[in-house]
Amino acid sequence: MAQEITLGQLRRWLILYADRIIAEEEQLTRLDAAIGDADHGVNMRRGLEKVRERLLDEETQYADVGAFFRSIAMTLISAVGGAAGPLYGTFFLRAATSPHNGERVDLPQFTRMLRFGLDGLQQRGKAHINDKTMVDTIQPAVEAMEAALASGQSLAVALAAAKQAARLGMEHTIEIRANKGRASYLGDRSIGHQDPGATSAYFLFETAVVALSTPVPKE
């Protein structure tokens, strides 16, 4: 049972993520001020407040996990803006197209969803590892999930590994030069600053640990 993720848990995940982004708005904007245009926090907050609002509305029902991810995607696409909005949107939109059945996903399915999402995000953004973008957080995290899955680890262990890899990936962006996005305009002057998108992506894996490894109380 605990090896499956319910719609209720996914809902809790995104609500936690929204809370975290709203709390970190200033930090994200400050990071973007250094190497971008000082709006990443504002953009993400605008979008995730909308997400949060929809998820807290008791009326909102989702047919299945795919529908849930599609709904998140559309909200992000229409409300975040900037580069991050369509990228996160594409991530969830493609995740939704991965094979799954019904109102819960198991670890292999969930891992595949993240992989689909990452592939979609990279098709859209053409960014590779070490380009100093959110890909530097998401790709190691997805690879860590895949490795955990291959070696038969539990969901909780897989999520913890993903979070750990995401953090290292995020921190590594400090050391590298940006090749994609607005920070790339700075060339070598982008070195020494943590990428804002890599940072907001880290919170996705950080909140996943809490939200997806434990059951939702009265579900």
Binding site: A33, G36, D37, A38, D39, V42, N43, R46, I77, S78, A79, V80, G81, G82, A83, A84, G85, P86, L87, G89, T90, R124, G125, K180, G181, R182, S184, Y185, L186, G187, R189
Partner: protein
């Protein structure tokens, strides 16, 4: 710059309402999703031209809606590209079966959003094409270059071609040619002083940022001695890049970022004019003013478009928008 439009959403919507109220014969505004369209729809069956842009760059994009230019414009939040649902709604409102051209400044978000929109439209059977504007020579790699002063120019060329009844692929082709023949660069001032102290401010030894973007993206700090030196440092990279050669005919756009007064813009223009003249480059058309801004920032962008007879003819064709009118 002390801002009153910072209350998310609401202030921008009110500003759009104000703009529509100011130009009742030219503009109609739609909310949720936000876009501005022509008050009088374009001639039946024409290709439509649409652009999105973050707010804070006015008159881009809304000030360019009208005959001979845009059929619709989608303003995003401050410095943030509009979202695909805005582009889709605007397209559904104005498209006439001949297809739509999106003029897209080369910023990741704007490109992604137009792609998402185009994918959706292709499912609906609407032909959508994207023309990229990437004229900023401050960025070495061409593929990564930002859209700057060429945006209003490419929009104008596309709009004139569409107005002339040309089919989708021709509108795209001539717009791409305009984009490929345009180069820009900008600078921003860093010292902010109240006008009252202007008389006390010594000239010389000022720091400016060369190669800035229009969203506050930093450039490279330089000590400069005055307008002439700034012009030299802006124009040489622009002219060298295409390159523009002796005998070339050009359109020259000097656009303030918003906070530089006309007095200074014309001073820069004069130096630029002399720079180009001394290299045998012929300025056939010129625009000096606030055509693409960055809120109230001091500084300007300079854009050259190499003209040929077709581009010149399209530029000179009738136009009637809040900003350009002849």
């Amino acid at each position: 710059m002390h801002s009153f439009v910072n209350k998310p959403g609401d202030s921008i919507a009110r500003s759009l309402a104000g703009m529509a109220a100011c130009y009742p014969n030219l503009l109609r505004v739609h909310f949720d999703p936000d876009f501005v369209q022509r008050a009088q729809p374009g001639r039946a069956g024409k290709v439509v031209v649409i652009t999105g842009s973050g707010s804070g760059h006015e008159p881009l994009p809304t000030g360019y809606v009208g005959l001979g230019m845009l059929d619709a414009a989608c303003p995003g939040p401050i410095f943030t590209s509009p979202t695909p649902d805005q582009l889709l709604a605007a397209t559904h409102a104005v498209e006439q079966g001949a297809g739509v051209v999106y003029i897209v400044k080369n910023y990741a978000g704007a490109v992604f959003n137009s792609e998402i929109c185009t994918e959706e439209l292709s499912r609906e059977g609407i032909r959508a094409r994207k023309v990229l504007v990437n004229d900023d020579v401050a960025i070495p790699e061409i593929s990564n270059r930002r859209g700057l002063g060429a945006a209003p120019i490419v929009i104008r060329i596309a709009g004139a071609a569409a107005e002339a009844g040309r089919p989708l692929e021709e509108v795209v082709a001539v717009s791409v040619r305009a984009a490929e023949n345009a180069r820009s660069m900008g600078f921003a001032t860093n010292i902010e002083t109240l006008p009252r102290s202007i008389h006390a401010l010594p000239l010389g030894d000022h720091t400016v940022e060369l190669g800035v973007g229009i969203h506050g993206e930093p450039g490279v700090e330089q000590q400069v001695e005055g307008a002439e030196e700034i012009v030299e440092r802006l124009m040489q990279p622009i002219v060298d890049d295409l390159p523009y050669r002796s005998g070339d005919r050009v359109l020259l756009l000097v656009s303030g970022l918003g906070g530089t007064p006309p007095l200074e813009l014309f001073l820069f223009f004069q130096h630029i004019y002399e720079f180009l003249e001394s290299r045998g480059i012929v300025v056939q058309r010129r625009l000096v003013g606030n055509y693409l801004t960055s809120l109230g920032r001091g500084g300007c962008t300079v854009t050259l478009l190499r003209l040929d007879d077709e581009l010149l003819g399209l530029w000179d064709a009738p136009i009637h928008t809040p900003t350009l009118h002849w």
